[in-house]
């Protein structure tokens, strides 16, 4: 069943189009930087972008930072929102369940395939970022690679980049959980996607609002950028750990609710 769902997702042209589009923006940014040599000053623009002119190996992180606020969550919400509701809209859900695929099994298979999509997408963005970064910019690490100003060895940099990829993936699993949750409630994939995006927009908006500060620590987008802390010297674990815990709670609660709904609902699509 999981193999079937992975097959459906990754043999679908749309999946790869989404991933390709996702990589277009960082590529565009890289080309513009290369042509103009005008990097944003440190502290402005997406994290790490100021440093890539002198160290191309940081570009995977810059690429992730570029797509993180908008493009990546949209892509994840589209795919996860489509997972169950898309089958309902196409009418194939009733045939899958009459096959019988088993409601819990089907949901788990959808979940695994969505998670696989998130991981593949993040890794591809980082990998393309690495290739672009090392071809367009100078590759030797020089002083000031860490956000704190000290120098990281290439090994340290690699290790922390892998951690950052993992962290961004987990943040996106939160988005996926929201979209999958909505996807079990509606027969419209668009509705599920928009539902998840509405949550994220609300969260980002509330985060900037002082009046919302009491709930700020619980907003799903609150710790998204904490992966930058992985590049401080020493690593500042506090927000990273909180971010992981928060996403863990969201994913757990939402998936349980999605399961409870999906296993007891009438399939009338």
């Amino acid at each position: 069943m999981i193999a079937v769902e992975l097959h459906k997702l990754f043999r679908r042209p749309r999946t790869w189009t989404t991933i390709a589009v996702l990589n277009a923006l960082p590529l565009l940014v890289a080309v513009l930087l290369q042509l103009t040599d005008l990097a944003p000053r440190p502290g402005e623009g997406p994290p790490f972008l100021s440093a890539v002119l002198t160290n191309g190996t940081l570009f995977p992180l810059a690429a992730l930072a570029i797509v993180l606020p908008l493009f990546l969550p949209i892509a994840v919400a589209v795919v996860a929102g489509d997972s169950v509701a898309g089958e309902a809209q196409a009418g194939t859900l009733r045939y899958l369940l009459a096959r019988p695929a088993g409601r819990t099994r089907l949901l788990v298979a959808k979940l695994v395939s969505v998670f696989a999509f998130v991981l593949v997408t993040v890794v591809v963005v980082a990998a393309v970022g690495y290739v672009v970064g090392t071809t367009l910019f100078e590759a030797q690490p020089i002083a000031g690679t860490s956000v704190s100003g000290s120098t990281l060895t290439p090994e340290e940099l690699t290790g922390r980049t892998v951690l950052a990829i993992g962290y961004v993936t987990v943040s996106m699993l939160g988005v996926a959980a929201f979209a999958l949750f909505f996807s079990t409630f509606t027969d419209s994939p668009l509705g599920a996607t928009l539902g998840a995006l509405a949550v994220l927009v609300t969260s980002s908006l509330l985060f900037t609002l002082d009046a919302a500060s009491p709930i700020a620590p619980y907003l799903p987008t609150r710790y998204w950028l904490a992966f930058v802390d992985l590049f401080r010297d020493p690593i500042l674990w506090r927000d990273v750990v909180r971010g992981l815990a928060l996403q863990g709670v969201y994913v757990g609660v939402l998936l349980t609710a999605a399961w409870a709904n999906f296993t007891t609902k009438d399939i009338t699509s």
Binding site: R12, G91, Y95, L96, P100, G102, D266
Partner: protein
């Protein structure tokens, strides 16, 4: 005979609508069961409950002797279904669709998959369709592919919700032959439809649904059994009345209904009196008449009940 589909007091409410209102289906092995009902009478809702897609508000369903939806995993691989029209992934070929569906559940070995897919595509007349994506199929081709999906695991029971929807007359005849052939080989067929003619040509047993209630369930042969009268066709109906004094119960153009279940006896009398006879047959109600009468009786019942409140 063993029961294949049994429901007891099956009810489904959608908010205030009672889509299915306490039905007791009884489908036996070897039947071609015709499940008739007007639009919105609850046929699809019933089919969905049989398959565990919609959960009953009350009552229970037994499929092949096992309680649904509890036994879905062991029962449904032995059941082929077509529910309210076919549905496929448009960007994939028919073959790929069948293959993915087969791989999505138990009871369909991958070793035999290719062979089974070839066989059912041949059966439903799609053998030559090639690698075209389903999006490029015609309505009738999709219906055939849906049927192919239902046949893929040689099911003991076929539950088909309006299987001939969208087919041309030739296609309908073809599918009818296919289903009858499968039935001869032992497959029980549960066929929902609002087309009386279709059911009349195929079914051995009939259930009639009217606004969520099962108003009739019996063998087709019993329902359309001779009434005990004889129908005479003649250009001179008045002379029939004269010759068979008092036995004529109805005259409609050239059609005269005469009491007595032996056409030969009626014929002898008429010929003896010199009345020209074009045709003679025992009177049988058509399925349409039976269904309309049952639905009308049920309608009266509802009215009476409402007045009583």
């Amino acid at each position: 005979m063993t029961a294949v589909i049994v429901t007891r007091g099956l009810v489904k409410r959608f908010g205030r609508v009672r889509a299915v209102d306490g039905i007791d289906l009884d489908v036996r092995a070897g039947d071609v069961y015709g499940f008739l009902g007007a639009n919105g009478s609850g046929k699809t809702t019933t089919v969905r409950m049989l398959l565990g897609l919609v959960l009953p508000t009350a009552g229970e369903v037994e499929l092949l002797g096992r309680r649904m939806p509890r036994a879905a995993r062991s029962v449904l691989p032995r059941v082929g279904a077509l529910i309210e029209g076919p549905a496929h992934h448009g960007h994939l070929s028919g073959r790929a669709n069948l293959s993915l569906l087969d791989a999505s559940g138990p009871g369909g070995s991958w070793r035999t998959r290719r062979r089974r897919i070839d066989a059912v595509l041949e059966q439903v007349g799609l053998a030559g369709v090639g690698r075209r994506p389903v999006a490029a199929y015609s309505l009738g081709m999709r219906q055939r592919l849906g049927l192919a999906g239902a046949l893929l695991r040689r099911p003991e029971l076929l539950v088909l919700d309006e299987p001939t929807n969208g087919l041309d007359p030739q296609g309908i005849a073809e599918i009818r032959e296919l289903l009858l052939e499968l039935n001869r080989q032992g497959t029980t067929v549960f066929l929902s439809s609002h087309l009386l003619a279709e059911i009349e040509q195929m079914a051995t047993r009939v259930g009639v649904l009217d606004r969520g209630r099962l108003v009739l369930q019996d063998r087709l042969a019993t329902l359309t059994a001779p009434t005990g009268a004889t129908v005479v066709r003649t250009p001179e109906p008045d002379r029939v009345r004269a010759a068979l004094d008092g036995r004529v119960t109805a005259v409609d153009g050239e059609r005269v209904v005469v009491k007595g279940d032996d056409p030969a006896e009626v014929n002898a009398l008429l010929v003896g009196a010199g009345v020209p006879v074009i045709g003679l047959a025992p009177e049988r109600p058509t399925l349409e008449e039976v269904v309309l009468a049952a639905a009308r009786a049920a309608g009266d019942r509802v009215e009476v009940r409402e007045r009583g409140r």
